[in-house]
Symmetry: C2
Subunit: 278 residues, 2 copies
């Protein structure tokens, strides 16, 4: 390939940008790579912006200033997000998914790459401007969606463990109140996992009372880390009063005790009406 | 956007194909979407093949036959894979990463999206032809790389748990011999997670004696599932005799007991010399 044409450049560009989401590349980087002038590259970028927007394939931004350049952010339109989550709700409301204790069988949904990628992108969009340095989750089921959220944000994932009996060196342990019964459990994070002054986005699969989430906030407090947001795949309608505030969930489930037929799973309000309250 | 130009079509195409890895799309699907003739679309595909190959950005294949169409597979050239893994080895060999018991601190590497994505693509390439129906991992640390491998292969991830005290409905439990000390531990998988006759690819972070991996094979046996391969991020040189055979690891670590200075971490043989033996 001697002479690189615009169509080839644009295809290569979008692939390169999309495997490094939310990272700023200088125009010069691509000019050198493709052997083109800056003006030509700017035109390529403008054309790409339009086509991504036309087909709802993500957002390309030009960032000005000294550290400026071009940045790709995975994105899904509000309409498409609503459609995806509504489809998921329809699948999840099947009575066979209801487990004892008012839980839903979500494991398949939570580890299908295409589904967690979409959920990660929808959640990331809510927190691009909060600029977290990492995503924090608690093992195990939230890890895939937390990883995809971290991927879209271009930051590492940090995983808190249920026990410090693991091979991660010296660790900070905290106790937290789990579940409605008020059991005390332990959460552990390696000392070297995060640094003081960083900003964390908490992502997890399920929010009921908020005890585990509160534990993660306390854990971040021990590390001197600021929590900039909390996002969940599923929240329960009951208890309405959680131990945390300001969270966003993709879906809300409600079920009357001992009446599986009363199960409802609905997209969160902020997804369906453009309103910013979960 | 009334009339869609080739450069716009190609950029949109590569983005659409790359968010659905290893899935076959008919040409008609894209002809309808862009309002173009089949011959034009074939030309687009040929141009895309060349540009992806020229910039080492993945592989576009035309699949013939009744269920035929076009399929994108993430791919990394042998040279680039070797460079990536060699860089990782250089980072991992730092003595500060060595933990008691001959383990390495890998948690940061294992949950950085860009790193696990590359590892997932390198591993997936070894198993595209084995056509697994899902990727199986054991919680916790292997989940991110297993998810990215599953993503590249276009299949779901299935996560075995250390305890059945989880909210996943009725489960199959097996006991397995963990570690050199010969402790008996329990591994659990929800009954509804997989189906008889499916094909599994096992992906995990660390292979020492092979007890956990052997447990996963036994677990799949209980489900009537065929294990088509086993892949690991890191294998230990000692013991040389593992409880499993035929595995592939990206890296091999070696360290003499009580001598941290003897630590070595090297890319696996099959990565560096094109030979197919781990």
């Amino acid at each position: 390939m001697d002479r690189i044409r615009r169509n080839e450049r644009m295809a290569a560009l979008i692939r390169m940008l999309s495997v490094a989401p939310n990272r700023i590349f200088t125009l010069s980087h691509f000019c050198d790579l493709f052997g083109t002038a800056k003006s030509t590259m700017s035109e390529d970028i403008d054309l790409l912006k339009d086509v991504l927007s036309a087909f709802d394939l993500g957002r390309l931004d030009t960032v000005t200033g000294a550290a400026g350049g071009v940045r790709f952010r995975p994105a899904i339109s509000q309409g498409e997000a609503k459609r995806l989550i509504t489809d998921l709700c329809r699948e999840l409301v099947k009575p066979s998914r209801l487990l004892p204790g008012g839980f839903l069988y979500l494991s398949d949904i939570l580890s299908t790459p295409s589904i967690v990628r979409s959920m990660g992108v929808i959640l990331a969009e809510q927190y691009y401007e909060s600029a977290p340095d990492f995503v924090l989750t608690m093992e195990t089921k939230g890890i895939p969606v937390a990883l995809m959220t971290a991927d879209a944000l271009g930051v590492p994932l940090v995983i808190a463990r249920r026990s410090s009996n693991v091979f991660e060196g010296s660790a900070v342990n905290i106790n937290y109140v789990a579940g409605n019964a008020g059991h005390i459990e332990t959460m552990s994070l390696s000392r070297r996992a995060v640094q003081e002054g960083q900003r964390a986005l908490i992502v997890d699969d399920f929010l009921k009372g908020g005890g585990t989430a509160k534990g993660m906030i306390d854990l971040m407090c021990e590390f001197g880390v600021d929590v900039v947001g909390m996002a969940f795949v599923m929240s329960t309608a009951s208890p309405a009063q959680k131990r945390i505030r300001g969270e966003k969930a993709l879906m809300v489930m409600d079920v009357q005790p001992d009446d599986p037929g009363s199960l409802t799973v609905t997209p969160a309000g902020w997804l369906t009406n453009g309103n910013d309250v979960a």
